[in-house]
């Protein structure tokens, strides 16, 4: 067992877990943050995506020990004080979320994408979300959700 300390959604955590335990399982089982989903467990589907020191990672491929000292953000940390993040609101309005299994990963991948490209082209959206599989939407509604989120963020920036 190893004592691992990190922050998740702004809260400091210290846990004693097997060092090779998947970060996904630490989040879900030890911290009860079940918003992060398991799809394939092989880094192919993106359902378990989180932000790790600001970078998108698949938490099923991160051993717990490597999260020591990291700053993590899961889907539970995206909304603030009960208010949906604009990206979440856009997914809701545009039908980008259906069954919901891929949605936490999609939202965090979108977050990461818009950090890098505030005005993403369709090609950049498709590449940024290529590691996140969705079996419901056919993706078009997800792409539209991302476009609307980018547009809203840019309008807010222009106003301020």
């Amino acid at each position: 067992m190893s004592v691992i300390q990190f922050s998740v959604n702004g809260k400091r955590e210290s846990i004693d877990v097997p060092p090779m335990k998947r970060l996904l399982d630490v989040l879900r089982e030890d911290l009860h943050l079940t918003g992060t989903k398991e799809g394939c467990g092989e880094g192919e589907c993106g359902a378990c995506a989180i932000l790790f020191d600001g970078e998108l990672v698949n938490s099923c491929l991160v051993p717990a020990l490597q999260a020591n000292g990291a700053r993590l953000c899961t889907i539970e940390g995206v909304s603030t004080e009960g208010h949906l993040h604009p990206i979440q609101q856009c997914f809701l309005e545009k039908g980008g979320a259906q069954c919901g299994i891929c949605t936490p990963g999609m939202i965090l991948a979108t977050h990461h994408l818009l950090d890098k490209y505030p005005n993403p082209t369709m090609a950049q959206i498709q590449e940024g979300l290529a590691g996140n599989l969705c079996r419901c939407t056919g993706y078009m509604r997800i792409f539209e959700s991302v476009q609307q989120a980018a547009q809203q963020a840019n309008e807010l920036t222009a106003k301020s």
């Binding site: 090779m20 998947r22 880094g43 993106g46 590691g131």
Partner: protein
């Protein structure tokens, strides 16, 4: 069947020297774990046979991109995202940036490392064909010293490399002397994103008029290891690309490639398809040289 994680040990030695000392003390006992995009998949599916792992992901001394007059030196802990973001690599080694861009998804590129891609030694890996075409060398370190080996001599067989049990891949050195070269890369997979290649070809060539003055070819999934295509290179070197010779040149190159290709049937493709498409990619490259 998922592995029981309590049966695995993972430690993070504080420095590279500490890693090398541990490898030297018990050679073969420990396996290095960098970004985890390969070994954690094996863990998840119950295929991870190594039970003592050393994390090197936190070692900043392995994560760098250095440029000098003749080469770009890439630390083995450099991620694919680092490679894509490097202006020096994008400018001087475009095939490197291209192959990094289609290695897994963004999330995997943020974690996976160039050193891991090489040492995992998959014949289908994305960056090796480029490193073969560019004539890279590898700097290997151990507690007893440092040696440099041509990358073309690193892969000895299926998942077998020249890396000794006490050694660690430290730096990938890639010449930056390809300004006047024509460069080509193409990967054929099931879909554009995130696919493992059925076949891939990377190529660089220098022309002297319509004569091929220099050429190097590297392929993925064409043999049991990343393969430099020496017979095809020999068939092309000093050949002419003018209208009278181009068809004969293409035929000779395809024959050379066919003679050295040893593809297999597996879950992703068939040997027959791989051999045929490899020839098609080579022909596409050769014909693209004709201006």
């Amino acid at each position: 069947m998922r592995s029981d994680v309590s049966q695995f040990d993972l430690t993070a030695p504080p420095s590279l020297d500490a890693v090398l000392a541990t490898l030297a003390k018990e050679p073969g006992k420990h396996t290095l774990l960098a970004g985890g995009t390969e070994l954690m998949v094996a863990l998840g599916t119950g295929r991870l046979n190594q039970h003592s792992l050393l994390s090197i992901q936190h070692l900043r001394e392995l994560r760098f991109i250095g440029v000098d007059d003749s080469a770009i030196h890439i630390g083995s802990g450099t991620t694919f995202t680092d490679i894509r973001r490097s202006k020096a690599i994008t400018a001087d080694l475009p095939l490197m940036a291209q192959s990094a861009s289609w290695t897994g998804s963004v999330a995997n590129q943020n974690r996976g490392t160039l050193g891991g891609n090489i040492c995992n030694a998959s014949p289908a890996a994305d960056t090796p064909p480029v490193l073969l075409a560019y004539g890279a060398t590898l700097t290997l370190v151990s507690a007893s010293g440092t040696r440099t080996v041509p990358y073309a001599e690193f892969h000895l067989g299926y998942k077998k490399t020249a890396l000794r049990p006490d050694e660690l891949l430290h730096t990938i050195n890639v010449p930056r002397t390809f300004a006047g070269y024509r460069q080509y890369i193409r990967k054929v997979g099931t879909r554009n994103a995130q696919a493992i290649s059925k076949i891939a070809l990377a190529a660089v060539a220098k022309l002297d008029g319509d004569r091929i003055a220099d050429i190097r070819l590297g392929a993925a999934s064409l043999a049991n290891r990343p393969a430099r295509c020496s017979a095809a290179e020999a068939a092309l070197l000093n050949q002419r690309l003018d209208a009278a010779n181009i068809d004969a040149t293409v035929r000779a190159a395809r024959a050379g490639l066919a003679s050295e290709a040893k593809p297999i049937d597996d879950i992703r493709s068939t040997a027959k398809y791989r051999a045929a498409v490899a020839g098609n990619l080579l022909e596409e490259f050769i014909r693209s040289l004709v201006v």
